[in-house]
Amino acid sequence: MSLSGKDKATVKAFWAIASKKGDEIGAEAMGRLLHVYPQTKTYFSHWTDLSIGSAPVKNHGKIVIGGLSDAVANIDDLLGGLLTLSELHAFQLRVDPTNFKILSHNILVVLAIMFPKEFTPEVHLSMDKFFAAVALALSDKYR
């Protein structure tokens, strides 16, 4: 399910609007990930505070959204552009790829909450495809 020219244009246009609230999106999505899918907490046992709105959660949300902005900038070559992040996830973090889908879902929920008008079905479609493509790039080196 590769990204068409239309998908890429849609993602870039929507992200230009959404990324202005990037920190908020990241914090909300991370908070919901840990709260609604408690099994994801297993990756963060080194944090002192896993609650919604806590400093580590907000900070990590920022990092993740930053990574997604990088991905948007490299949308024409995700495998190449996300190489370092891909190696990080494969050899150090080793996050099970199922969790990429879960985080994607939570980001989509937050986008719907924060941008109800702009997050049309067509934008939803392209963003969902984009997150799937990013997940594929991030798990590229897993095996």
């Binding site: 908070g31 919901r32 709260h35 609604v36 919604i52 879902h105 989509l108 929920v109 719907a112 909450i113 109800p116 997050f119 079905p121 067509e122 939803h124 479609l125 969902d128």
Partner: protein
């Protein structure tokens, strides 16, 4: 049996009490058909599904979206035995409609997103957790009669 806390029951009731079926039903089903186009395979007799605009303005899809959404009412009214509440609907989806049960989750995800868009920040993480638990129990019940 699925255990529901008092808070979860309250959250589910609250969401349903505010639910505008005539708006959410069509939005949910059409979003599913647009975001996951392969789901259109089950709607061959529903007229023009050629593009997003066609799907969004298709009256047959809108009507069916409302029907499907009302299908959740029986779960709301039987929260302590959702499993058996869906026996007949599960058989229908398996034996007559031949719907891949994976699609139930796709539709559930679209419903969650439509409700999130409507409720905005009122759709708190606690509400999302309870709502998704509710939907996953319904999805599981709908898949029980497949063999």
């Amino acid at each position: 049996m699925v255990e529901w806390t008092a808070e979860e029951r309250s959250i589910i009731s609250e969401i349903f009490s505010k639910l505008d079926y005539d708006d959410v039903g069509p939005k949910c089903l059409s979003r599913c058909l647009i975001v996951y186009p392969w789901t259109q395979r089950y709607f061959g007799g529903f007229g023009n599904l050629y593009n997003a605009e066609a799907i969004l303005s298709n009256p047959m899809i809108a009507a069916h979206g409302i029907t499907v959404l009302h299908g959740l009412d029986r779960a709301l009214n039987n929260m302590d035995d959702i499993k058996n509440t869906y026996t007949q609907l599960s058989e229908l989806h398996s034996e007559k409609l031949h719907v891949d049960p994976t699609n139930f989750t796709l539709l559930a995800d679209c419903l969650t997103i439509v409700i999130a868009a409507k409720m905005g920040t009122n759709f708190t993480p606690d509400m999302q957790a309870a709502w998704q638990k509710f939907l996953s129990v319904v999805v599981s019940a709908l898949g029980r009669q497949y063999h």
